[in-house]
Homo-oligomer: 225 residues x 2
DNA sequence: GAGAAAAGCGAGTAATCGCTCAGATAATAG
DNA sequence: CTATTATCTGAGCGATTACTCGCTTTTCTC
């Protein structure tokens, strides 16, 4: 039932490498311009200027193509975050936070529909593990940064910050915003509020049927199963 | 090319109404437990304990089923937001904000994968108009609430707040969190930071190739096309 | 150059899945 | 009861599309 999503074979000649690039390029292009529904293997091959046969030499399934695109994008994100943290070494907390936010915006806002369609495509791919790993990698880097700031629960804070930043950038991107500075300023306010405002004393205003065990506080997010 | 997404006919007998409910129930169940990829009409019918034929008596297309689920969920959201604002009339800003956040959490966290998959499914449905209308309805209510707080650009603020809150709740839900109080407190900090922290003077630290026209400021989000 | 290996081709196959329709069954009316 | 209307059934049609395979062309090796 479940077919492979791993690449089939490595290209050995230059033209083969070019073919692989053309395929990925074409798929990304279709995702940005025509949407997920238009993404079928015949169309990808056509747009890439190769035959379906060639496509299937390097990717055993259509999902493998999407997987590779997602993996590359993730690699770029991790790199960008890493770089932005390195670049800001020695700077103030505020400056470094701004760098982080700017890097995230730059990464996500350039091709907003591609970004969104990739997130959607993930729903059809068996990538939960890799997603966890990515989040872990980001959490490590960002958590290390936050750790120096006396933030309490670093794991939770990291998850929240990523979610907050992603949510706001995605919404802005889909709304057609291109002014990165304005967006960065707004995200910065939310992030600073999250990180710096005092934690409210836990008023136990009961909040509906709280059917969970009162776990949590300083042990990281609970993962299902 | 585009088929209808409106219900086909109203059930007139009790058992027919039960059939419709069973179908919607089954579809939602599949979305929560098995994911979007497993959502096909044969499977829905099977799980609902009816035949495909019956399914197509009430829903002309598969998309019509998803549309109905989404519409119901939206109706519940608007109702919950409205109620939470009414309930808090006369209370302080802080209390009302907390009510809003609690309502959003209650709405989104119960079936987190269903919520996520519905958002994804929307990408395949011709619901832009309704989505705009929903956002407008929420923006009106929330904007009216925010308007009394001296927030500058209410439209942008509303969009940002919704994105921020949704992002954080979704992430927490998918991570398996069930402690609503803890989550509400964190979201509250981010929201308050966004709303109450002073807008930073616009430092023109150039942020990459800012290829957009410097539009924006106080005129609401720019929508594509 | 010859031979081998890699890359490319694209018509065709097979599987999936949305959806129909001809007829069976149940509820309701008179 | 009969007639009528509402509901339900599920085998299978049709369209889409992921994927294969036998063959050709290009590049590499010696």
């Amino acid at each position: 039932m479940q077919r492979s999503i791993e690449p089939r074979k490595k290209p050995r000649q230059a033209r083969a490498a070019a073919t692989v690039e053309a395929i990925l390029q074409a798929a990304a292009h279709i995702l940005e311009r025509e949407g997920l529904a238009a993404l079928n293997t015949n169309h990808i091959a056509e747009r890439a200027g190769v035959s379906v046969g060639s496509l299937y030499q390097y990717f055993p399934t259509k999902q493998a193509i999407m997987t590779e695109i997602i993996r590359r994008k993730r690699r770029r994100l991790v790199d960008a975050i890493t770089l932005s943290l390195q670049a800001g070494e020695g700077e103030s907390f505020d400056e470094r936070l701004d760098r982080l936010i700017a890097a995230a915006i730059e990464h996500q806002i350039e091709w907003p529909r591609l970004a969104r369609n990739l997130e959607i495509a993930e729903a059809f791919l068996p990538l939960q593990e890799e997603t966890e790993a990515l989040n872990q990698a980001l959490a490590d880097k960002i958590g290390c940064f936050l750790g120096h700031q006396g933030i309490g629960d670093v794991a939770v804070a990291t998850m929240d910050l990523i979610a907050l930043v992603r949510g706001m950038i995605d919404a802005a991107g889909l709304a057609g915003e291109t002014d990165r500075t304005f967006l960065a300023e707004r995200i910065g306010r939310a992030a600073r509020g999250y990180l710096l405002l005092p934690q409210a004393a836990v008023k136990t205003r009961s909040m509906g049927h709280s059917k969970g065990i009162a776990q949590r506080r300083g042990s990281g997010p609970t993962h299902r199963r």
